[in-house]
Homo-oligomer: 318 residues x 2
């Protein structure tokens, strides 16, 4: 009998997504960072995203509850940032064993409330249920001026590939980036409103897992230049910084593409707008969808393998 | 150390809800069947609800997966019906052990897709994650003409209390009502659009648990007439039909109130519109919030005790 372990999250999604009925008012259905729907007569499109945050998967029993709550909200904000939108409202399903200390639950909600205030979000409620594992399920709702959401599917041949910030080791001992990351909200809004980005997504499962998703959506290939990947200081202290930059999840940086004719204008506008946040050019989109090349620092090239984290595969992908 | 078991779901909500930040565009925040938000310039308000559906809590390992999927969607539809709105879009978080057979996952999504088609909903996506228990977390989005959502908080003294359909025993052996119930969508829309209902909610945890929530929101009391409660045929076959009608969860009927001056007009319009769905008058709203009386069939009166299902209390409430 075949199980989820045999096909992994990507195989599951390939099987499920075609089943899901869509309405005519849906601009972007399943498969992007957010769904996008259009309302007749409205100047805005609506963005929807959901994010599970599960003990022992997304945080550990010893992780301070306030930081778990913060992370749960920040993940939804990051998804909306990756479309270029503005997050507005949050709903939360809490699942918890009845033996959970009240102080821990209070910490989760304190963390969510503080994060919501920081990003000017309303928490509209949600539901609570008893279960065996502590979990938060976050729904994020946002909006964006009609027709301006940046999708994963917009990359064209010769577009330049960029990433914000630095990559890798969000999970390594001493590194709490996966809890304390700053969703690139202003950066995403800048890239969308100035119409610089032709495609965009946030990095949640690692560049080597996420970039292929953008390429699949755009039906394009890539040449990725390993020598210029921006490495986090935590990754640089390890023996395999490149591996961490490619395969570690939860960077929550933005990955996006820029048309080559806009390169100079984009790079100068970016530096002016975000003087302390680097946007590094890390490669180039290629026309053939199957041509996905990782150019190593020694000049040799290898196929870019989809690594990173994939649910249900027990890290087989790594 | 105090845990969730010590305070139950109601205690948890009392502690959490005041923490949650709200935006000025929120008409109804946490605590009703749906949250309601208002968008400048729009003729519609927006409705949001979330519902967890968890193995061994909301369904059993042997429950056909298609019916679990159907139920998950129907619960969200029922919440939107309870405001008088029209459901439009669904998002789904799936949590599953990696050992889950693919056929079971496929069944869940087949059931959700069929239910979505039945109610003309788009399934916009969501997320998937590995976890120890099979769970669906559903977000439902709907809309309703601006300012017409029926809230739990609108009941006034002397209003008459009604319930649709029949109550009790949704869970008893041989009764699959909790899987196959029909959300009262047209009924809810009728009650809202004709401005008949002064308050409304759906019955998910049992009349004795849910009615006090409506009373708390409205700051009112009630006299409930046990002799006229509409009993389901399954409940009537048991030794304690009244107990089942009051305390069993997952009826998913509508509980609502009508101003006494509208009684005749309402009852006649209802019979014309819904000839095969009874709406039974089961009591009267009283002004003093603490006066909550259950009048028994023998003529004696007892205090209406909040029974029904409450998460985290291990059915202590029953």
């Amino acid at each position: 009998m075949k199980t989820l372990r045999d096909i992994g999250e990507n195989g599951l999604l390939r099987g499920i997504l075609p089943l899901l009925p869509q309405r005519a008012d849906t601009i972007v259905g399943p498969g992007d960072d957010c769904a996008v729907v259009r309302v007749p007569g409205s100047a805005d499109d609506w963005l929807f995203t959901t994010d599970p945050v599960i003990e022992r998967r997304h945080f550990l029993p010893g992780t301070p509850a306030r930081l778990v709550g913060r992370k749960a909200i920040a993940r939804a904000v990051s998804d909306i940032a990756a479309m270029g939108g503005t997050p507005l409202w949050i709903l939360v399903d809490l699942v918890a064993p009845s033996s959970t200390p009240l102080s821990r639950i209070r910490g989760l909600y304190d963390g969510m409330a503080a994060a919501a205030k920081k990003w000017n979000l309303g928490i509209l409620g949600g539901d609570t249920a008893e279960g065996d594992t502590l979990e938060l399920h976050i729904t994020g709702v946002g909006r964006i001026p009609r027709g301006t959401a940046v999708l994963r599917s917009g990359a064209r041949a010769s577009d330049l590939v960029y990433v914000t910030g630095a990559l890798g080791a969000a999970y390594l001992p001493g590194c709490r980036h996966h809890l304390l990351f700053e969703p690139r909200l202003e950066a995403g809004q800048f890239l969308a409103s100035k119409k610089f980005a032709t495609s965009m997504m946030d990095l949640s499962d690692g560049l080597a897992a996420d970039l292929p998703r953008l390429l699949d959506a755009s039906k394009r290939g890539v040449r990725l230049d390993a020598a210029v990947l921006p490495l986090s200081s935590a990754a640089r202290k390890t023996q395999h910084p490149l591996h961490h930059a490619l395969c570690d999840g939860e960077d929550f940086e933005l990955l996006f593409t820029i048309a080559p004719r806009n390169r100079a204008r984009f790079e100068s506008a970016w530096k002016k707008e975000f003087p302390s946040l680097p946007a590094t050019r890390i490669g180039e989109i290629l026309a053939p969808p199957a041509k996905r090349i990782l150019q190593l620092p020694d000049g040799t090239s290898v196929p870019l393998r989809p690594g990173g984290y994939q649910h249900f595969l027990s890290h087989k992908g790594k």
